[in-house]
Symmetry: C2
Subunit: 348 residues, 2 copies
């Protein structure tokens, strides 16, 4: 039984019909008689038939493989894991399966897995690109007519759709909120300037300061790893300044948590003695103590949108490049010290 795979021909013989009829049943064609359909279906179940999608897609010139590829730069980061989950949800309910590969920020690895996925016949690709990705890295795929959606980070010049969050608007909103609470010395901590996301969030920070009538100070921008450890490091540097900040917008939530850790290590309590705002709204942000005020990106929703966008393009046949910016909103919790105000979340 394990040896000889059951094929349409086996079913046809057992049910006393031709393989063509079996094929029609598989496709749910209205041409086939109900009695025949029932008989064939029964036989399929009895013999434990498993559809061979590979053989099917081989024949179909229209080539819908029902597989999409998902390539992520860092799956150990909760943000991207949730992104993948969002994609998975949409993809699953559309009857697709997803290949998933992690690149750990290596462009080489990224190219390898994309090539490998292509060999297996993906009908679309979602990629959260490794840091140094350029347009020519995606050229081969896009030119083959395979729809590509970049998520989170975009690749300038690539002929594909992209889905990024409105980073500048997010940090700008955060700064205005802090200024509204009376802060005048607001820092921007964490992250490295080599990716576009950093540039955008930093720009928003500057815009927010200007909008609040506050001066921009170069020394209040402290870059570091985009991790919890990086946050500890960044707040350390910031607090050693002659004129230390009293509030900060962080590159992301991981940094923000690190900043909280660093503050406690100095005997300061985040939210009470210092205002901290994150970016991303990972799940732990809500549960943390104090709950983190942060710019909500909702990675899962973003993953879902990316998948929907991709599926739309796959079904349309033509890949119309579309650049979508998903809006963000500030979720005010406790770490910014606005605890006494009405929380926006409770209004929703």
């Amino acid at each position: 039984m394990a040896k000889g795979r059951v094929t349409v021909i086996d079913i046809a013989e057992a049910a006393g019909v031709s393989k063509s009829t079996v094929s029609l049943v598989l496709q749910g064609s209205p041409l086939v008689n109900e009695i025949t359909r029932a008989k064939v279906s029964t036989v399929m179940r009895e013999l434990g038939y498993v559809y061979n999608r590979g053989a099917a897609t081989l024949r179909q010139t229209s080539a819908k493989s029902k597989i999409i590829g998902m390539v992520v730069n860092d799956l150990t980061n909760g943000f991207f894991a949730e992104l993948a989950v969002g994609v998975d949800m949409v993809v699953q309910s559309a009857g697709f399966v997803q290949f998933l590969a992690n690149t750990a920020e290596s462009v080489d690895r990224q190219q390898e897995v994309i090539a490998s996925m292509r060999e297996h016949g993906i009908s679309g690709l979602i990629v959260s690109p490794a840091r140094a990705t350029t347009a020519k890295d995606l050229k081969a795929v896009t030119e083959a007519g395979i729809p590509v959606v970049t998520a989170v980070r975009n690749v300038p010049g690539a002929r594909c759709s992209s889905l990024v969050s409105d980073n500048a608007a997010g940090t700008a909103q955060a700064v205005r909120h802090l200024a509204g609470l009376g802060h005048t010395r607001i820092a921007f901590l964490g992250g490295f300037p080599d990716i576009m996301v950093f540039e955008e969030r930093r720009r928003g920070y500057e815009q927010g300061l200007r909008a609040a009538g506050l001066p921009f100070r170069e020394d209040y921008v402290v870059s570091s790893g985009a991790s919890r450890a990086g946050g500890v490091e960044a707040i350390g540097k910031a607090m050693r300044l002659p004129d230390p900040p009293t509030a900060t917008v962080c590159f992301n939530d991981a940094v923000a948590f690190g900043v909280c850790d660093g503050l406690r290590a100095r005997g300061m309590e985040p939210g009470r003695d210092f205002a901290v705002v994150g970016f991303d709204d990972v799940i732990e942000a809500k549960a943390a103590v104090p709950a983190l005020t942060t710019v909500s990106v909702d990675p899962q929703a973003m993953g879902m949108r990316a998948a929907q966008l991709l599926l739309k393009q796959i079904n349309a046949g033509r890949a119309e490049a579309e650049a979508v910016t998903t809006s963000v909103r500030l979720v005010v919790r406790e770490s910014c010290g606005a605890g006494h105000k009405v929380k926006t979340e409770e209004l929703a």
Copy 2:
């Protein structure tokens, strides 16, 4: 170009050879002349040829699809995300691709994705089963001769290999450590009793108490969600006992973080006023403040082992069921209050 896919026949014509020769080149056969090989390779590159693995595996009776399936119960949990990354690493370097699907603890969803993966022709399956999974849920796959490895949780009665960590030994070791620090009122917080993992860790907790000559108290076992929020809840209940504990072993790290949050909300500092030990050793455990003392499972290494075990079985052709228990070790950091002692990590 995007329309007509390039096939071996196109290559053959352009290179002035037969499709058979092209096929031999693709397989790196030593039969083909070096000059011919070079010529064919060049043409392949020029025409942008992409290997169609589906067509190849269709013909090969030996059916090595170079695809493995990975099914995870909760990818938003960092532990499982890292497990997937570990699998991915091994799988990638073996030239395989992985399907990845998240089940969110739904057995129905799990069955659907496994069926879907089968249709696409996976040559092996790694599954971290949804909570209510039974042996008969995996029967179809194992009977088809597809190697299956269950990771993290095992499915009693299923004819497949399994890879679980030595849960009982882990908690037992944690309890002995706390007892060695002088604690006598040690709780076990978090998790729900409906999964085997909980039972094992709880049993280890009991064994540890016995080994330390301490009594087992029913009310010191507080179950709750296996999440950060669950930890906050559990420590809340525990501290309202007439005779509250002074230390706890937690179901996992997420719970442990929640316990720390809950302690702070009560004005107690974890590590100083109360000893907390986690389980899993997720990445954040090291970076947290205070750094979390925890039983290290190293999910990434576990994922790698699972993948290696599966690949071994795929290559062997025969699926010899193997039950592997991976050993665990206590990583002493700060949250247990043993800060003044030499840290085991620094000895490594």
